[in-house]
């Protein structure tokens, strides 16, 4: 394996080349097409993430999973950085903690997260992140945007006040359900998720009502109707299983 020149893996087929690296001083091995995040998780090393979800194409948007790689002053988003031979990765440091805390604070400041009255209270990934990272209060001011709630769908609600723009809904709907109902509009701080061409969700002609977006949504932005405070727990575990089964079938 090691001495021979490496051929490029055929497109689609998983690579068989294995790399050895250290993550937090632990020697680990991973396939060359696996991300640092994959390798860390397989070895029980936890890196905070938000936009990433097993089974969806990683986008590197939330920047919470950033890690240090020895020999570079740059930081790397571990969900989109592939492992490399001899890489020395540090997943936790004072600097990383400081940045991660600020990023979570920025997310809280961006929209109106009033957890006490949120249906996802207690089951929310943003809340969990704040707890794990020790964000007890905000040092940045709240931006208090005025945002609508779209309750036009028969079974679901979209509350922009709780959206963290992780794009999981966009990806699951496009990549897994194949409906492409969700998209983004606007830019910068004015970016919003939209259904169809910015029409009410209830009038969407593409939405199949499968509910996948609701269950991958990390916060109380997308929820089922009829849930009261604290009642909206999400089931996103279906995803890796679903994608794995589909891959198997296609081979």
């Amino acid at each position: 394996m090691s001495g021979r020149p490496s051929a490029k893996p055929a497109a689609g087929a998983p690579s068989s080349k294995v790399k050895t690296l250290t993550i937090d001083d632990r020697l680990v091995s991973a396939r060359e097409d696996e991300s640092i995040l994959d390798a860390a998780r397989q070895n029980g090393i936890q890196i905070p993430t938000l936009c990433n979800l097993d089974g969806l194409t990683p986008v590197g948007a939330c920047r919470l999973c950033m890690v240090e790689v020895k020999g570079s002053s740059r930081l790397f988003a571990s969900c989109v950085t592939m492992v490399g031979e001899g890489m020395e990765v540090v997943t936790d440091s004072e600097r990383l903690q400081k940045y991660r805390k600020t990023i979570v604070e920025l997310l809280f400041s961006e929209r109106n997260h009033v957890c006490a009255v949120c249906v996802s209270n207690g089951h929310c990934e943003l809340q969990n992140l704040a707890q794990t990272l020790g964000v007890t209060h905000l040092t940045v001011p709240y931006l208090h945007p005025k945002l609508p709630v779209d309750a036009s769908h028969e079974r679901f609600v979209n509350d922009h006040n709780r959206c963290v723009l992780c794009q999981r809904c966009v990806r699951v709907c496009g990549e897994v359900e194949g409906a492409h109902t969700w998209d983004l509009r606007g830019r910068g701080i004015d970016t919003r998720v939209i259904t169809d061409l910015n029409q009410p969700w209830g009038s969407s002609e593409t939405c199949t009502g499968c509910g996948k977006c609701v269950h991958v949504c990390p916060t109380g932005a997308l929820t089922e109707k009829g849930k009261s405070i604290r009642e909206m727990a999400k089931q996103s575990r279906f995803l890796p299983y679903l994608t794995m089964m589909r891959e198997d079938r296609s081979e």
Partner: protein
């Protein structure tokens, strides 16, 4: 099309020009055009007709002559006379003066440092040829390098020439062009693409527009050479839709080149074929970032994606893609024509060649200049640029646009090259140079650029999307004298977070204007903070009297 065909066209063109007694060039590029230079051209044509000088005198429109501040500009070519601030009413006098004493009232000084100190490669034809006639480009040795190269050099040979020239990307980061070409050349792909990045979104920058408008064939030739070197047969020019004149001239140029067999299948009778298409951008600054640009060309939302993979390996539709800036590609024909050693002798050891700058702000000669790399900033601003007008004192020069920084008086003797500007806490960027006089508040300058970054952030990643909005609000508070030391500390912390964690160059460099003004002009922040602290303590000085 062979070398002989080219020289025939060139000779015919020169003969025709020699036969004309007087050649009057009117700048019809954007800035002069906005001052009605088209009217001037019309009146000149009428005057020539009326005075019966049609046989010995020709009027034509040319691209930007550089000294836009003094527009509309008119040049009488052979006599080497320049007229500035020309009005349509001046036309008869100009025509009467042909062959005699120039009209002193509107005469400009071609010996002035503005013209004498420049060295032109990229702009060598700008303002000298009619951008709508391919024959004039050919008469200026255009397409010679292409035909010569296709028949006499291997693709790798071309890559080596570019590498030896030391050319670095003019789009901002200064990445070695030869190295990029070599990577794309070596990348495996059933297809490859060349993209010319003409998005040019920096406020106050118009270098690329001038080249596209004034000498479009130079870009096509550069792209075809790039295509040959890396093994691509399709090129795209990405131009912002706000540049309608550039688009019009590019379209015309592509048609002309295709007609002459200088683009399309089997160029110059060789097996190499290359096509160029235009793609329009909607004017989002972030679409100048290469991965966002590629997504935009593919028809997607113009947002950046993480690199690697770099476009050189996986670009347009996943194929290896060479993406270069307009000015970078504009250097290519001349480098191949004159040889890499010739090019490498210009500039400094690590920054070879020339750089085009757009002078703007509190400077007498606003306009477009091209100087050898390494010229001290002082020379650029005071000798060529004519210094700060209205007797005001110089305060700072902002280079690199929203990703760059402000350089104070003390940095003016540094040579203007990639490394020195980085040492000063700024960047070369694409070549915008905005001069500020003593009346500018540096906090407001930082706020201006932060507002730009906030508005232009694509919204994909958290630190840039929310961080720029937070930093802008903090700068607003500081500027208004409403902030305390706590806000300043928070601003500095956010600069660090956004710079270190953002996904693309926009976010990573958005804090630069704040950091550089904090570095050189911290006292201005502090006096605003003092006002804010005083207000917070309840004995506020009258509003406005704070700083």
């Amino acid at each position: 099309m062979s070398i002989e065909d080219l020289s025939q066209i060139s000779q015919a063109e020169r003969d025709a020009r020699d036969a004309i007694g007087h050649q009057i060039n009117v700048c019809v590029a954007a800035s002069c055009l906005s001052l009605q230079s088209d009217k001037v051209k019309e009146e000149l044509e009428k005057a020539v007709e009326a005075k019966g000088k049609k046989d010995c005198c020709k009027v034509r429109g040319v691209g930007c002559m550089g000294l836009c501040a003094a527009g509309p500009l008119v040049a009488v070519e052979k006599e080497k006379v320049l007229y500035q601030g020309v009005t349509p009413e001046d036309a008869p006098a100009i025509v009467d003066a042909l062959g005699g004493e120039p009209v002193a009232r509107i005469q400009g000084d071609l010996e002035a440092p503005f013209f004498a100190r420049q060295q032109k490669i990229v702009l060598e034809n700008c303002g000298r040829i009619d951008p709508e006639r391919i024959e004039e480009y050919i008469a200026a040795d255009g397409y010679l390098a292409l035909i010569d190269t296709l028949t006499a050099m291997t693709p790798i040979g071309v890559v080596q020439q570019v590498t030896r020239s030391g050319l670095r990307g003019r789009g901002g980061a200064g990445y070695p062009t030869g190295l990029k070409w070599a990577t794309v050349n070596k990348s495996q792909g059933t297809r490859k693409f060349v993209i010319c990045n003409g998005d040019e979104g920096d406020p106050g920058a118009f270098m690329d527009r001038a080249v596209l408008e004034s000498d479009p064939h130079r870009i096509l030739e550069g792209m075809a050479l790039a295509g040959y070197a890396v093994g691509a047969s399709q090129g795209f020019v990405y131009v912002r839709a706000e540049y309608p004149l550039a688009i019009k001239r590019l379209k015309l140029a592509i048609k002309q080149a295709e007609k002459m067999g200088l683009l399309g299948a089997s160029i110059g009778g060789t097996t190499f074929g290359f096509n160029v298409d235009i793609r329009l951008g909607a004017g989002a600054f972030v679409c100048g970032e290469e991965t966002a640009l590629i997504s935009s060309v593919e028809g997607g939302r113009g947002t950046p994606r993480p690199r690697p993979p770099y476009p050189a390996e996986s670009g347009l539709w996943g194929y290896p893609t060479l993406i270069n800036n307009v000015e970078t590609l504009a250097n290519i024909p001349t480098i191949l024509r004159n040889g890499p050693e010739w090019f490498a002798r210009i500039g400094t050891a690590k920054s070879r060649g020339t750089k085009v700058f757009a002078l703007a702000g509190a400077i007498t000669n606003t306009g477009l200049i091209e100087v050898p790399m390494g010229m001290p900033l002082r020379e650029i601003i005071f000798d060529i640029g004519g210094g700060v007008p209205d007797g005001k004192a110089f305060k700072a020069v902002q280079t690199g646009g929203p990703s760059g920084g402000c350089i104070p008086e003390s940095g003016l003797d540094m040579p203007c090259d990639y490394e020195s500007l980085a040492k000063l806490g700024s960047i070369m960027g694409s070549g915008g140079m905005i001069v500020m006089d003593e009346t500018s508040s540096m906090v407001d300058v930082a706020k201006f650029f932060m507002e730009f970054c906030m508005d232009e952030s694509c919204g994909k990643c958290v630190p840039c999307r929310v961080g720029t909005a937070q930093m802008h609000e903090l700068l607003r508070q500081i500027s208004a004298g409403e902030a305390t030391a706590r806000e300043l500390a928070l601003l500095e912390h956010l600069c660090d977070v956004v710079k270190s964690t953002s996904l693309c160059g926009l976010g990573q460099s958005a804090p630069n204007p704040v950091l550089s003004t904090l570095h050189y002009f911290r006292d201005e922040y502090e006096s605003k903070i003092a006002a804010g602290e005083a207000a917070a303590a309840g004995h506020a000085p009258p509003a406005g009297g704070a700083a």
